[in-house]
Symmetry: C2
Subunit: 196 residues, 2 copies
């Protein structure tokens, strides 16, 4: 792929991303520790263009690293963001929807909760996150929307690790997953990234 | 205080905030669980006006509930946000600045970390958070900036619990703390809030 054919995020990954062994891509200089707000706002505009034809009432994400991209996208939709919270223990609070999300990075199961007040029947939801790998976080968020009787209009992802298959599994189920950069292959030894 | 004299956030607190026993103010309908992005963007604009005369290179906040207001303010400054991460255990990583923040809400000490790459000597930092009560989180963030050799230009807070004294203690040390709403008294029994 020629550099000129790459989109904003793909170019940024090539210039500022750092590939680490074990298929780890560090983008904490602009996406999930330091947030390059002017740049991420441009991605928010791209997501608005991608989902412009859909009715979106609310954006749902998960703490902590989804909040920045979700808020900076919500500016263009003029809608609220709800972020699901990770709770270490089982949460028996009847006032929340709860689901389980397995984290491979930290090798544990997080109970993820959203107050029942902030997800409602019939609401059109855009799910967003910074990364999609195996898809567990997105599936957990979809489960929360489903419990509330809402409609998942789409899933907006910054970086999808295509080789982990989570995005394609969701697409096979008919979910409208849109990722600004899908990585099909990365190699820490040579420092190369192959985008789909 | 007449309702007409109240600012945007103070009015919002009176209409949408819920006072709970134990001096708890729930604002999770618009600030720290659901984020009313168009409204919080207006607060971001207010912070830009308040700190317009200062040189701000970067906004520093702490995960998770500071990220929304920090990003939506950074849009107006055109600067990046860095969010400090809470780490359960002691973090001996030499690549991070670490400090301890006592959480009274959860009755534990969080080790709070920022990568050394994202706080630099001589940088002019605006610290932001959704709430300020005893001031421990802000003091922790100030400590991180100090370790990096940066300059804290100011502290921007949405809601300060004035009766807990953290904000005034910082002001007494010469820190430029600006809170959009300072609560001097709240009463769950009568549902009344007194703003400073």
């Amino acid at each position: 792929m020629m550099a000129s054919e790459l989109n904003l995020l793909q170019k940024k990954i090539l210039t500022d991303g750092v590939i680490k062994p074990g298929n780890v891509l560090k983008v904490d200089s602009f996406l999930n520790h330091q947030i390059d707000v002017p740049f991420i706002s441009e991605l928010g505009k791209e997501f608005k263009n991608i989902f412009a034809h859909k009715k979106i009432d609310k954006i749902l994400t998960i703490e902590a690293s989804g909040i920045g991209i979700a808020c900076l996208t919500a500016v263009y939709f003029g809608v609220p963001v709800v972020f699901a919270k990770k709770s270490a223990g089982s949460n028996m609070d009847t006032e929340v929807y709860t689901t389980e999300v397995k984290s491979f990075t930290h090798n544990k199961v997080n109970h993820v909760v959203v107050s029942k007040k902030y997800l409602n029947q019939g609401e059109h939801i855009l799910i967003m996150d910074d990364f999609l790998a195996n898809g567990c976080a997105v599936e957990g968020l979809m489960d929360l929307v489903s419990q509330a009787g809402g409609i998942v209009e789409g899933v907006g992802i910054c970086i999808e690790k295509g080789f982990q298959g989570g995005g394609d599994a969701l697409r096979a189920k008919g979910v409208d997953v849109r990722s600004l950069a899908i990585i099909d292959k990365m190699d820490a030894a040579t420092g190369t990234i192959t985008f789909r």
